[in-house]
């Protein structure tokens, strides 16, 4: 039982990282960005390239991998979504374009690196450390730790810092924020970089833990979106809580019905939530709907 709990928390840390980055970007850019999923894959391939192929030391490879996803996050906005926005687009056109972007980048990665699963971890497989009858590898512990640090930092940044207040103001009402002189471009830049970085952390963790494939980003991205929906749109801890509850349900559901049903459990919870409480656990009522 404890092992299931530990596994849930581990999975939750990945979902929380993805969900947080997605949720933050969603509030500021205002469209459902499927290309967020590819940022995870990009960081994973970055790590594979710098560590697995070029053999750079770990800290440098990790930093470069994160730079990859941050750069791609900014580049995609600069080349695709930014210009698109100037064409008086709606959230739906942006969403469709992001689907297209996701498909393009995934296939470019697949052309360059091949469809085969690549591993970053070289050398002997380390045995997990036993703790209270729970086995965890070093990588898994580091993942959980970095997720907690990221959530805490993001929370602090959003609630305490000047730029955090700007981001929240901008997310609330971009026009009003612009009127009182909040620099929209800078807010956007920071948010894109932060969300790319968070996806990158998830990506490198997944890369070390399970390996790298071109399609690896879609699944954690979708579960991350579910976590963001469950957590509501107002707080970093809400998303983290959503991620934890989601992965607990997934793992216990998997334990009861068989692990292949984890996804079915997660998305059933999503449908239930959308039906009963679309604003999430901690969220306030959703934005006024304009049809």
């Amino acid at each position: 039982m404890l092992q299931i709990l530990a596994n849930s928390l581990l999975a939750a840390s990945i979902y929380a990282l993805v969900g947080l980055g997605f949720g933050l970007a969603y509030q500021v850019t205002g469209f459902l960005n499927f290309a967020h999923g590819i940022l995870i894959t990009t960081a994973a391939y970055g790590l594979y390239l710098f560590r697995g192929v070029l053999g750079l030391p770990w800290p440098i490879s990790l930093a470069l991998a994160l730079m990859c996803s941050i750069t791609v996050s900014l580049l995609l906005y600069a080349c695709v979504f930014g210009p698109l926005r100037r064409f008086a687009s709606t959230p739906l056109t942006m969403l469709l374009a992001s689907l297209g972007t996701y498909v393009v980048v995934q296939n470019v990665l697949s052309l360059v690196f091949g469809d085969r699963i690549q591993t970053v971890q070289t050398g002997p497989v380390l045995e997990g450390v036993g703790l209270f009858g729970v086995r965890l590898t070093l990588v898994q512990m580091l993942t959980a730790l970095s997720a907690i640090v990221c959530v805490a930092l993001l929370h602090l940044m959003l609630q305490q810092s000047r730029i955090g207040r700007m981001i929240r103001a901008f997310a609330d009402n971009p026009e009003y924020a612009a009127i009182v002189g909040i620099p929209g471009r800078r807010v956007l830049l920071v948010v894109l970089a932060v969300s790319g970085g968070l996806a990158g952390v998830a990506g490198v963790a997944l890369a070390v833990d399970t390996g790298v494939t071109p399609g690896m980003g879609m699944h954690p991205f979708m579960i991350g979106v579910v976590a963001a929906v469950l957590g509501g749109n107002r707080s970093a801890w809400g998303v983290a809580l959503g991620a934890v509850l989601l992965s607990l349900a997934q793992n216990y559901g998997g334990w009861m019905f068989g692990s292949q049903w984890q996804d079915a459990v997660a998305f059933s919870i999503l449908l239930l939530f959308l039906l009963l409480r679309p604003q999430g656990f901690l969220g306030r009522a959703a934005h006024k709907v304009t049809v």
């Binding site: 698109l84 689907l99 296939n107 470019v108 579910v226 292949q260 999503l270 959308l274 039906l275």
Partner: protein, 290 residues
């Protein structure tokens, strides 16, 4: 020649999918990522009926349509109350659940092993064996889908769907029960997608879950958007272009593994470019942007 008819049959099957999705996306304004799920539902229903119970083709088609209709209510009643992004996420969730069922319910669907040995269709003594026969059959079904969607959208019912797309609150203010209209449109769209699934299953004679993934849903969406939503010929053109293109790449002599990637890169990029410069598609009337 057989190769060419094969491509044309596939184009017809995808045309059914694109035309039926257009009823929802182009005419009612709701983007669903669950179309491959209903496609798969039709395929699995008629395949299982044919293999396990020896049911005929038409029985399988009708059962698939009915089943898809019923299941569509389960999705649409809760999720059509939602708007825009939430609806997209909800249909995505449903797509994942159904894929998971296709892939994991070993006793029924045999999971990744798939269902082999689905017989060729026989309709009232017409044994559909040759490619030409099959092309005729697929053409009839595509014409049926075309007819249904166009009858609906040129009827008063269809005008309400258009009204919902343009301004749902206004449609409500006119006393229309918009939820009922949306749910019906979704059910019709799902049932038509299921007929495409039945055709596919009986044509290829083998199905497995990989034909009904999210990527397949996105492909069908791209067909609608690139061809042009809310138009007579847009979805059909989109389907033909996106089916024929990878084959053209193969004829040029591209290895098929690279061609598969290039095909996806092409339609992904086309989707982005269309959104930027021509969001109503090649011949469409409804532009998502303005």
């Amino acid at each position: 020649m057989e190769y060419l008819t094969h491509i044309m049959i596939l184009a017809m099957i995808y045309a059914i999918l694109a035309i039926s999705l257009d009823l929802l996306v182009g005419r009612t304004g709701f983007l669903s990522i669950a179309h491959a799920a209903f496609y798969g539902l039709g395929a699995y229903t008629s395949a299982l009926l044919a293999v396990k119970c020896g049911a005929g083709f038409l029985v399988g088609v009708l059962a698939g349509m009915g089943f898809a209709c019923v299941v569509s209510f389960v999705v649409s009643l809760p999720s059509l109350r939602l708007h825009d992004d939430y609806f997209v996420i909800a249909t995505f969730g449903f797509q994942m659940i159904l894929f998971s069922i296709f892939n994991n319910w070993m006793n029924l669907t045999r999971g990744p092993l798939g269902i082999p040995g689905i017989p060729h269709p026989a309709i009232f003594g017409w044994q559909v064996n040759s490619h030409w026969d099959f092309l005729l059959l697929a053409g009839i079904f595509a014409a049926f889908a075309y007819f249904v969607v166009h009858r609906i959208s040129s009827s008063p019912f269809g005008r309400v769907l258009h009204a919902i797309r343009e301004d749902e609150v206004f449609a409500k203010a006119l006393g229309k029960n918009t939820l009922r209209f949306k749910v019906t449109a979704f059910a019709v769209s799902a049932a038509l997608a299921a007929t495409a699934g039945s055709l596919y299953a009986h044509y290829i004679s083998y199905i497995d879950p990989t034909s009904f993934t999210v990527m397949e849903s996105i492909l069908v969406i791209s067909m609608v958007i690139i061809g042009g939503a809310d138009s007579a010929w847009g979805p059909l053109i989109g389907a033909v272009v996106l089916v024929a293109l990878p084959e053209a790449l193969r004829l040029v002599g591209m290895p098929s593994s690279v061609a598969a990637n290039l095909r996806q890169i092409f339609y992904g990029a086309l989707l982005v470019v269309m959104m930027m410069f021509r969001s109503r598609g090649l011949v469409g009337r409804y532009s998502f942007g303005r």
